[in-house]
């Protein structure tokens, strides 16, 4: 199987605390991988290492066969690694539409144009608007991002990520904080991307019953280490995983 991104002995320590510990994983291309694990397991930190927000203290990362360990987050985005943030990370005083439009503009590589009005690039705004419709945020297009409710900010994050059209999508708890009625629509968006089959999705989620049927494989992180990596059904059967993390949840589901 072809792998889009691999890590080799990847570690990072904050002070004395090892948040990600000698992680060697391979993410299969164009598949859907879920990452689960209890709070503080190091899931977000793992994403931060993959997307370049953090530098590892040890180990390497290979993307499409190339060693990207020393590349900046800007370069990684341009290579095709896109992510959404668990703690919302948008442009607070800009409108929702402008937040997404900036992502579209970057994807269209219009970076240093200073002679024309930005409205000249009408298709950027149209594209941004389409994305907002996709994540059910079109009515908020003119609101300032800081005024959005938490769930709405999550949707904005997703729209900005989708605008980048990256080969690899790293989604950090995309539905956290959304109202229950909104979750299915967002899952539908993710499902559609998966069904197209030309992009790789890695998704962090606590509510694992929600993503189990979407996942081709599941990675379990525990104390910064890889506890298991397997198909969803195997993970559910896995004794170590059950005792370390899933025990209660699994019982609940089967009950």
């Amino acid at each position: 199987m072809e792998h889009i991104i691999e890590t080799n002995n990847l570690s990072i320590a904050f002070g004395g605390h090892v948040a990600v510990d000698s992680l060697s994983v391979k993410i299969p291309k164009n598949k859907f991988t879920s990452v689960i694990g209890p709070n503080g397991a190091g899931k977000t930190t793992f994403f931060n290492l993959l997307s370049g927000q953090l530098r590892p203290t040890n180990g390497e990362i290979f993307y499409k066969g190339e060693n990207i360990t020393k590349k900046s987050s800007t370069e990684r985005t341009r290579m095709g690694i896109g992510r959404s943030f668990q703690i919302t990370n948008v442009f607070p005083n800009l409108t929702v539409l402008e937040n997404v439009r900036l992502a579209v503009q970057s994807n269209e590589k219009i970076r240093y144009q200073m002679m024309f009005h930005f409205k000249k690039y009408k298709k950027f705004e149209e594209k941004a608007m389409e994305l907002l419709e996709l994540v059910l945020l079109e009515t908020k297009a003119d609101s300032v991002a800081i005024n959005l409710a938490h769930g709405e900010k999550r949707k904005l994050e997703i729209a900005m990520l989708l605008a980048l059209e990256t080969d690899l999508l790293l989604l950090d708890e995309p539905t956290a904080g959304m109202s229950l009625e909104e979750v299915p629509a967002i899952l539908e968006v993710i499902k559609k991307i998966k069904e197209k089959g030309d992009r790789t999705i890695v998704l962090i989620e606590h509510k694992m019953d929600m993503i189990l049927d979407l996942s081709d494989q599941v990675m379990v992180l525990f104390n910064g280490q890889l506890l298991a990596q397997d198909s969803p059904s195997e993970i559910m059967e896995n004794k170590t995983v059950q005792s370390a993390y899933l025990g209660g949840l699994h019982d609940e589901n089967s009950a």
Binding site: Q53, S72, S73, V90, F91, L94, E98, L102, Q113, M115
Partner: protein, 336 residues
């Protein structure tokens, strides 16, 4: 955005204001008043250049006076050493702007990769260095005595000088408005809002900061050029910290992150300078205008953090939103 033809309404309003101002010297020829308005135009240009850094990109500079001074000295030295012809005037302007471009480029490349206070500190130190250099290099700058020079006759006429400053202000205003509304300008604002996120969208932020630092430095230097031409005398005070503080005050009082704000701020501060120095006979406190401005500054930051232009813009937006909300309510009622 409301439009008339293909041009925004605000553009017509600004142009109308520009035309009205152009008539002023022909109907009202109080020389000292004209001089004051010229200073407002010049500091409007200077404050706009400051706001490109502070308000649009979020870069703090403590030594912006350096570019103003380099512009002023550049043109002055060339004119003082040569015949006051149009050729040497243009040469002087080019020297001034070129020097500012080089200095701002170097200062930017050295510090804009680092945490933001490095740029603030380096510009502060450089401005101090230029002040000392201007005092010491007497043969070139005349030291603390300053330089007196002549300019082409055409600009000795107050009205012509006034029109030069006004046209410069208008042209620079519209150019910077286009710049800040360009795709590049939008990225600058994104950098101000959230550097990390701008990077993770795939933008390299360092080149943007250097570009805007150079543009800002060159525009500031042009302000300095006009300043020197309008006074025909120059001394080391153009490098003083006060000059930077003025730009900061004008920008904050007028409204950060707008272009019209710094111009309004320049009008207020320059007028206040003028007014207060007349009052200095009444009480010494008025000579210490910086104390008064300090108080005004604190009050503005507390009560109008967005400045005059920002507050007006906000009020307008709120009203627009209320209207929209009402329309939506009606729609909902009809729907239900």
């Amino acid at each position: 955005m409301r439009q008339l033809g293909k041009v925004q309404i605000s553009t017509w309003v600004y142009l109308l204001f520009g035309c009205l101002l152009a008539v002023v010297p022909f109907v009202y020829d109080n020389l000292s008043m004209l001089f004051l308005i010229i200073q407002i135009f010049i500091f409007g240009i200077f404050a706009m250049s400051y706001d490109l850094l502070l308000g649009y990109t979020g870069i703090v500079s403590f030594g912006h006076a350096m570019f103003f001074g380099v512009g002023a000295y550049g043109v002055s030295i060339v004119l003082e050493r040569n015949e006051p012809t149009l050729f040497f005037l243009i040469l002087g302007i080019l020297v001034a702007l070129g020097a500012a471009a080089i200095i701002s480029f170097i200062a930017g490349v050295l510090t804009l990769r680092l945490k933001s206070h490095f740029y603030a500190m380096l510009t502060l130190a450089l401005a101090g260095l230029f002040l000392v250099a201007a005092e010491k290099m007497r043969s070139l700058t005349g030291g603390s005595d300053g330089l007196i020079f002549t300019i082409p006759d055409f600009f000795k006429d107050r009205t012509n000088m006034y029109l030069l400053a006004l046209i410069s202000l208008v042209v620079i205003f519209f150019s910077l408005r286009r710049l800040t509304n360009s795709p590049l300008g939008r990225v600058l604002v994104a950098i101000r809002e959230n550097e990390q996120r701008t990077m993770s969208l795939g933008y390299k932020i360092f080149p943007y900061k250097v570009i805007i630092s150079v543009i800002s430095g060159v525009v500031a230097a042009f302000g300095g050029v006009l300043y020197a031409l309008s006074i025909r005398f120059i001394d080391t005070t153009v490098f003083a910290v006060d000059v930077t503080l003025d730009a900061l005050l004008m920008t904050i009082i007028g409204g950060v992150g707008t272009l019209i704000g710094p111009i309004i701020g320049a009008g207020l501060i320059e007028y206040a300078h003028h007014f207060l120095s007349e009052l200095s006979d009444v009480h010494w406190i008025f000579e210490r205008w910086i104390i008064l401005f300090g108080i005004v500054y604190i009050l503005v930051v507390i009560f109008f953090p967005m400045g005059i232009a920002g507050s007006i813009k906000n009020m307008y937006m709120k009203r627009k939103h209320k209207k929209e909300a009402k329309v939506q309510q009606k729609d909902n009622q009809i729907a239900s």
